[in-house]
């Protein structure tokens, strides 16, 4: 058997090792998603005071399991698959060190199993952040270290694949934008995982009573891992936005310079985000906080606002090239909303931007953090970014990865078509209700806000009960969406109908095939006034312009309302 296969849909040469590594990482990611999802149900049904399912110790244990499986194992295993896809597959290139690839994979799996064992046996009830001096079993820390070393190896391998592709002239010109974005994600991952090593190695030694770790120093460096790893997610997610745009409607890249510069801004400034968690900490002064929390004067926020424009703008142009030229929003009306890849893309952008992005920048403001820190507003924010944004995008791309890499048709396709709607609507209700509950001061990571056994009983207004109830319903809807995703992907991968080689090339319309590739927008002619300016540049994009201005208005409103709420408080400083 040849080491390569030719993809009948795209014509790309796919190295079989890349195929296998992508499959292995994607399968483990899905298992982690399942485990984290089960924990999510239990945590949700406990925080819903009307149910209060688990006892306190099991609640905190399941919260630890949920955090580690979702934020670390699911996301990072999936990102490893994305790295192999964006390099070896998109660049037509071989995987230069297959053995290293498998060793890294095994290291990550072993690390994961060690962490799972300590968590499930009650030896690591320290939550995702494992703040020193809360103490877990030494194997918990060692497991994280092994996992990080494995992931770091994959990142190195990714750089090697790109270098080899360039040397062997596997592609012409520059790296495709999607690969470029993945490259920035990998660069951020390298920095992030180094922070992980810097903090977890001393913490491992501390857990063996071999050294002392300062609680504040731990928070500073741990968040260099904890928040920056969310920035890997952002860079990976934005790359997938461009990828999904390309696959679903043949979205064009307006200007390579702008999009690539925005990616570089992520690399330069995004690891400063550790500060977002330390704004009301005693260890740092105001100038450090202001400078770092703003990522060097909000340059990483600027990057996200740019991608939030260029991705829909590229989609708008792609659709206009397909003839959807009517009015401002004709391109939206005629977009393929029944394609789960496209609807995932649209919801990912909207919820990430409107809910996740706006709340994140607002809560990450030094002073406003006083009314947000460790309340439910924080998980409300990051469920909108990392779940409705990143995980949603990852789910969307799966609907193409299964036909293109696993060579299987999507099973239960009608179910797959509505999955993004169920998941997005559920997560939207969930994260907005959670954020709203947090404005009343409801703490995050808390077993019983009824305080039934406490010395004093603060009583939340009855409105909070209602909001928490809404949150729970939204969460259950989202969990249903997640369950559909797992059922569809598992059945497709293991029992799905094999794709026939001949019905998936140019012009094919088989379900799950990327229409952006099999049925690309027509070629551009110089007389295309609609999408081409006299100078030869692509544009204009009036519909997108209106959408981003609506976004900006929402942003400004939310931001200043929070300053107003802050000003009502006691003077403090």
């Amino acid at each position: 058997m040849s080491a390569f296969r030719t993809c009948p849909t795209t014509g790309l040469q796919v190295h079989r090792t890349a195929d296998r590594l992508i499959k292995a990482n994607a399968v483990v990611a899905t298992v982690a998603l399942l485990v984290g999802g089960i924990a999510a149900v239990l945590v949700l049904l406990t925080r819903w005071e009307a149910v209060l399912l688990l006892e306190a110790d099991m609640f905190y244990r399941m919260l630890t399991v949920h955090g580690m499986n979702m934020l670390i194992f699911f996301i990072i295993f999936f990102e490893m698959a994305v790295l192999y896809f964006a390099s070896a597959v998109l660049l037509n290139c071989r995987v230069p060190a297959p053995t290293t690839g498998w060793v890294a994979f095994v290291l990550m799996v072993v690390g994961t199993l060690m962490v799972e064992w300590t968590m499930w046996t009650g030896r690591a009830d320290v939550l995702f952040t494992s703040y020193v001096p809360l103490r877990a079993h030494p194997l918990f820390y060692l497991g994280v270290i092994l996992f990080a070393v494995g992931a770091l190896t994959v990142v190195g391998h990714f750089f090697a694949i790109i270098t080899v592709a360039r040397k062997e002239k596997a592609y012409e010109g520059s790296l495709p934008l999607v690969t470029y974005g993945a490259l920035t994600a990998a660069a951020i991952a390298a920095v992030t995982l180094l922070h992980g090593a810097i903090i977890y190695i001393p913490t491992f030694l501390w857990s063996l009573d071999l050294m002392h770790v300062d609680a504040q120093m731990y928070r500073l460096i741990w968040w260099g891992l904890g928040h920056s790893s969310q920035q890997i997610n952002v860079a990976a997610m934005v790359s997938i936005w461009y990828l999904l745009g390309a696959l679903t409607v043949g979205a064009v890249v307006l200007n390579e310079k702008v999009s690539r510069t925005a990616f570089v801004l992520y690399v330069l400034f995004i690891s400063m985000a550790s500060a977002h968690h330390l704004l009301v900490d005693p260890g740092m002064g105001p100038s450090w906080k202001v400078w770092n929390t703003s990522y060097f004067m909000y340059m990483a926020v600027l990057a996200s606002m740019i991608h939030g424009f260029t991705v829909p703008a590229g989609t708008e142009l792609g659709m206009r090239l397909r003839g959807a030229t009517q009015g401002l929003f004709g391109w939206l009306k005629r977009a393929p909303w029944g394609d789960p890849g496209f609807s995932s893309l649209a919801f990912s952008i909207v919820v990430f931007g409107f809910v996740g992005g706006i709340t994140g920048v607002t809560f990450g403001t030094e002073q406003i953090n006083i009314i947000a820190h460790n309340t439910l507003r924080i998980p409300g924010h990051f469920h909108a970014t990392v779940v409705s944004g990143t995980a949603m995008a990852f789910m969307g791309i799966t609907y193409y990865v299964i036909p293109l890499i696993f060579r299987r048709e999507i099973a239960f396709y009608p179910l797959a078509r509505i999955q993004p709607y169920i998941f997005a609507i559920g997560m939207l209700i969930f994260s907005m209700a959670m954020t709203f509950a947090g404005t009343f001061g409801v703490p995050r990571r808390h077993w019983d806000i009824g305080f039934t056994q406490a010395l004093f009983q603060p009583e939340f207004t009855p409105a909070v009960n209602l909001i928490i109830g809404v949150m729970a319903v939204g969460g259950l809807i989202a969990i249903a969406g997640g369950a559909i995703y797992i059922v569809v992907t598992v059945v497709s991968v293991f029992f799905g109908r094999k794709m026939a080689a001949d019905d998936s090339g140019l012009g094919a319309t088989g379900r799950g095939l990327p229409p952006g590739i099999t049925n690309p927008p027509r070629a551009l002619k110089p007389e295309d006034k609609e999408v081409l300016q006299p100078s030869g540049r692509l544009g204009p994009v009036p519909g997108t312009m209106v959408l981003v201005l609506i976004f900006l208005a929402a942003f400004i409103l939310y931001y200043f309302v929070n300053w107003m709420l802050l000003s009502f408080l006691w003077e403090v400083g």
Binding site: D57, Y131, P133, L134, S174, P176, L177, V178, G181, D214, A215, Q216, Y242, A246, L247, G250, V252, V253, N255, E256, K257, V280, D281, P282, P286, V290, S294, M297, Y298, M305, I306, F309, A313, G314, E366, Q367, N369, I370, I371, A372, T375, F440, G441, P443, W447, F451, Q453, L455, F456, F460, L524, Q533, L538, V541, M545, L552, Y559, W570, E571, V572
Partner: protein
């Protein structure tokens, strides 16, 4: 002529930017500058800043300072916790440990205090309910925040940083007396208030 994000572009991709895109980049940039300016401006003009007096402290020393503070100003007990009424302008010490806030503090509306927070064991979270004022309490660090309670009432201090299985039990109390009532209380010191000793 045009390409998607998965096709390699030509070697040199540094090209001029289309008008709409350029306009949005500049609008976004301007907004980022507003976001950045707001924080220093609030330090100068606003009343709520997380700056405080910050320094390292040995947990044992902090515990001793809290004990001294309780002894000096204790006026009674509440649910077994000492109730302390420090005079306006004084330093107030609030100790976090698994799973209690010690002591209960009685303040006067409109007066200024310096509230010192620290932990004896693990990280805790100071969350003043129902005001929604939140600060991180880190062992080994003293966070001294100048506060001016602007309304009377009974406030609870929840812990909002996970600190162990009894995390949800950790609730303390801060009482703010109205400015005029407090003045009367000074005229008749300790009337009707239990003077039973605290826990220490």
């Amino acid at each position: 002529m045009y390409r998607t994000g998965i096709e390699p572009p030509e070697r040199v991709w540094w090209k001029k930017v289309e008008r709409h895109e350029k306009v949005w980049v500049w609008i976004a940039f301007a907004w980022c500058m507003v976001l950045f300016a707001m924080m220093p401006v609030w330090h100068l003009r606003g009343g709520q800043n997380p700056s405080g007096i910050r320094h390292r402290v040995d947990p044992a020393d902090f515990q001793a300072r809290v004990a001294e503070f309780v002894q000096e100003y204790q006026v009674g007990t509440d649910n077994g916790l000492p109730v302390v009424a420090p005079p306006p302008g004084s330093h107030v010490y609030l100790q976090a440990s698994q799973f209690a806030w010690i002591p209960v503090v009685r303040l006067r509306q409109g007066a200024e205090y310096t509230l010192h927070l620290s932990s004896l064991d693990v990280n805790h979270g100071f969350a003043l309910y129902p005001l929604n004022i939140n600060f991180q309490v880190v062992p080994g660090y003293d966070y001294g925040l100048r506060i001016v309670p602007n309304e009377p009432g009974e406030f609870h201090v929840m812990c909002n940083e996970f600190c162990g299985i009894g995390h949800h039990l950790m609730v303390g109390k801060i009482i703010v007396e109205p400015a005029d009532a407090a003045a009367e209380a000074v005229d008749a010191p300790a009337a009707g208030v239990s003077t039973a000793g605290g826990d220490r």
